[in-house]
Point group: D2
């Protein structure tokens, strides 16, 4: 059987490198092209020395027609705005595309424009894009030509809230999402807040109430709630390489105890290959999902306040980006959903 030929467009960032790492071991797909304007002509291992000895592939500049000849399936690991046109071009060339940027995540182009300060150039294509969270939109993903791969924070938030919203357990006006991310979430471009001596032994909240993942979370939460939801989302920067831990608060409509909530979550996610509800009484830790495509979840009822507290842990570069992108590819290509993805994380 011939393997599905894959192009990684924009391969010099962390999600590009992570796509490569994951696809190296995929039994039914193989990377046949990688693009990087800056490193065109150089081996991908010059940008990512951890891939040395595993591939000799050279980077090339982004030429959609040329890439289209070499690849059947396209991952876009480009910055937002740039990704918009690339998605359009590859779509027109008949290629299935998973876009890891935010460009096709927000259904409403005006809302996109408001938060991303850039007018969306391809509203027709936007209308065709599917939000690629398999646990929520699996069947639509299977049939889609263009997937908007979810943001890292939204993945951690939506998976934590979905069971409660679907079961109408919480007052959706009371949702607060307090998220903590490792520094790789900020990308690979050096700047002062991510300079090692500034970020190490540092800890801060940022963009309170203004982070661009807010409308993305609200859009998906609203669909799940069957109602328009406005919520608080606060991201934090934590001195570690990988991982997002989201601590989510909401008021329960009716009191439930931790045991009942735990059962609800277990039932809800029983068939999901990449969601692990922690045993009752245990909470997730990002160290247990590092390098893996799992989302670990814990849930507690606080009888004193009537609130539920959900904690989710993902690797921001895997389930929060490149792993989920491959999960979407598996669905779109008709492969087993877990193909090439059921590897253990790296601990410690």
């Amino acid at each position: 059987m011939q393997k599905l030929r894959i192009a990684i467009v924009g391969s010099s960032g962390y999600t590009g490198g992570e796509l490569y790492r994951i696809l190296l071991h995929h039994p039914k797909a193989a990377v046949t092209a990688v693009t990087s304007e800056k490193s065109a002509g150089k081996p991908i291992s010059s940008i990512f020395p951890h891939l040395a000895g595993l591939t000799d592939l050279l980077c090339e500049p982004l030429d959609p027609d040329g890439i289209a000849k070499k690849a059947d399936f396209i991952f876009l690991a480009l910055p937002h705005v740039t990704a918009q046109e690339a998605a359009y071009r590859f779509h027109k060339l008949g290629k299935k595309v998973v876009d890891l940027s935010a460009d096709y995540r927000i259904d409403d182009p005006l809302l996109y424009e408001k938060w991303y300060e850039h007018c969306h150039q391809y509203p027709d294509l936007l209308a065709l894009a599917v939000y690629g969270l398999p646990e929520v939109h699996r069947e639509k993903i299977r049939k889609s030509q263009l997937i908007a791969n979810p943001g890292c924070y939204p993945t951690s938030a939506i998976l934590g809230l979905a069971p409660l919203l679907k079961k109408r357990m919480i007052d959706h006006n009371t949702i607060i999402i307090d998220s903590k991310s490792g520094v790789s979430g900020a990308g690979r471009s050096p700047s002062l807040p991510y300079h090692y001596p500034e970020a190490n032994e540092g800890l801060m909240a940022y963009k309170i109430g203004t982070h661009r993942h807010t409308p993305e979370i609200e859009q998906e939460i609203s669909k799940l709630a069957g109602d328009q939801v406005i919520l608080n989302f606060t991201p934090h920067l934590v001195p570690m390489n990988r991982g997002i831990l989201s601590t989510i608060y909401a008021t329960m409509k009716e009191q439930a105890d931790t045991g009942a909530l735990h059962e609800l979550f277990q039932d809800f996610y029983r068939q999901e290959p990449f969601v692990r509800v922690r045993p009752l009484g245990q909470l997730p830790n990002v160290c247990n999902v590092r390098g893996s495509n799992f989302c670990d979840i814990g849930v507690c009822a606080d009888a004193r306040t009537g609130r539920v507290v959900v904690v989710t842990a993902i690797d921001n570069l895997v389930k929060g980006a490149s792993g989920q992108a491959v999960q979407n590819m598996n669905l779109m290509a008709g492969f087993e959903e877990t193909e090439g993805l059921k590897f253990a994380g790296l601990f410690p």
Copy 2:
């Protein structure tokens, strides 16, 4: 002038070491006795090599009568329960005491018993103890013989909420405190969750709804609110040595914008030597308070949800423990409150 003679009782933990570091440079006080059962007879620098060359003091076993002859003022850096009796003994010997444990923080002995699973042996003395948060109880502290030095998390939480509560700005049934602490907050006793390869690159919530700082926070918040307050408090463990960042959420009674809230905080804390409200538009980072007695604060209104988000940053071992203890000593001894404490933190 003769310096106030200080004993640090229980000097082998991080708060004991930090008391010593701070008091080394205090112009009006000098450590004259340190106790450690395990290291009795050995120099304090054998436990804390960073103090080598600065002191030759030897550790001694805890003998209140003996210590009382050598010291005028006592810091208790003992585990809770153990501290109870030590406080009692030194109090009876006529010494002023700052207790860094939790033993005298909870006004109600039954509430203490419920959360600490130990019956309080000295309820009469408990009734005399003052909760040592100078920004809230300054005048009582000046006259007190026994100070219950606040917990690290409560310090970060109460300072963030005090202005809003005093001004009746928030619905106090909606308070959620999401706190993130460095690992030194767990003390100096090795155990698996704090073993380097487990804690490093790890991040977790713990004791959701059950952490012992909860009743302490609620007690003080209730006083400030003038009403009984029940709230959510979630601690997290973050891979860094020092620092607590608390992100605090509450619903505003009436809409206020960030500018107005910022002004309120600035006014409220204008005279406070150790609270720094960050300039408008800027948020605190624990790296800026590391090693110092400052609490840095930022505040945002979220017009979309009607909530206020306050972020506070302290060094858990300084403003969250030993620095605040010295601040209390300064007040009790009639010194300038800032004496020996207005040093800059260590950055980076």
Copy 3:
């Protein structure tokens, strides 16, 4: 084809967990038994939550006869001394064994006794054991029943020196090995030097001239040099989870420039699947081997002093322990040497 059935004896430490992680994806082997006295009866995922969802295997106590019925091939991840007898028992039961402890590494039982302060109980078996560094002893390993899996520091040191020694390029009386290790090398048992706040932002040398890996390094270096070699080996503890970087110094017998040395190393390791000589002018970094079985090498001549400086980087838990153990298993079982091992490391 039936998979080779594997037992991991002593599975609760980091090397045990890492064996499991690697073997999960091995196409020709499968773990069928894991032992842990402390966690007997509990799932392996209770000790290693990162394995949850990937295995339901329960830990059992170490009963060689019972284990022998379930497994064809044995990995011993036990402390030294304990491993001695276990190796003997499994060997007598006809099982091939890879011992990750130091018990069968030192050819001379008296030298073992001197450095490990314990008399070797099975000198006859010791005589049969092969030192499991495939790049040096590949053919012997293929035929062996018992492999002494090399220590992490020795692996990094020997691979850096082998080309120079084989080609008689250096004065072997001048060898100095300055090694730096991440904290997982100290194992999973908590103790003060590895307590997070002590190890983080800390850096120290330890056991100068007295570390037990010294005789192991000297034994293998002597074989390569064809002469008795005594050398300096200094280990250091570095605040990171994984990785060893060894910086190795020796005086060249005749001057060679960096280009010539680089060519020598490239030629020497050209056929080796797990040694990557970095491109000329580039040096290894542990971040590029993290989680992988690679050893990255760089070499420089210093014309001013006439010395050569070699730098090697490995993951102490993979090429320095469990990955190399699987590489040895592949050789012993007649599999492709790289089977299940050519995965990329995790970066960042």
Copy 4:
């Protein structure tokens, strides 16, 4: 008494900030001017928020005449080459200067040109400059108008070797210095190798045999040895904020045991306020000098190889830069050498 008025020229980097932190508590000196081209007109606390509440000083552009009116004593925390002229200007204006750059460290202008690829513009002034390592050049420093403040690596290397060289204990052709530095040593300008996700969990050697601190070390070592010394110096980058650990190897001329060497070091440094020889059998750790002006030293004889191994630990920003600069100022200004400098480090 009026305080000595200090200018920090080039205050936006880590050494500038650290000078400010230290001088804030100096009893006889006070910072009266700080320069930064980029932040001219803004408060120093906008660059260094940890200084907020402790100073209101505004940055100004570098105008030597203007600065000279406000300050009696000048610290130059500028990049090399830039510092050359600034030193010259302030010297001509009659100001005492401590230059923290490398510009006046290399006695021989041709050697400077060779390593720094820039012709020295002020050889006459260079001839007057004194290398500011008080433990070696104390008396010259007292009388000097211009101090070349030593590099961080050289400080750690020279203090470790001085006793052995002065006592002619080692063969000075055998010296190897293996140094490990925290990331703040690379300065405050973001670039990829210091980007948090690249540096964290990373470890590498760099500039083997070509680092610019090599001629500086050799110059001072040669003076101490009374002979021309060529040596190996290898710097490494370690994932921590502060600290340098140097492990130094040399062959002893005559065998000495560790006890004798320890005594030698103790005697040699007995009067030195900032050098702490660790108790026999103990080795230094950078965590014990963090934030302090101490250099901790340990020494071991290796009878097997006839080599001595010295380990030194400093804080690269304090004894390796700004603390030593203030120590030099104290000597030049006729203050007590330890004035404002005998503070404990920050542990943990």
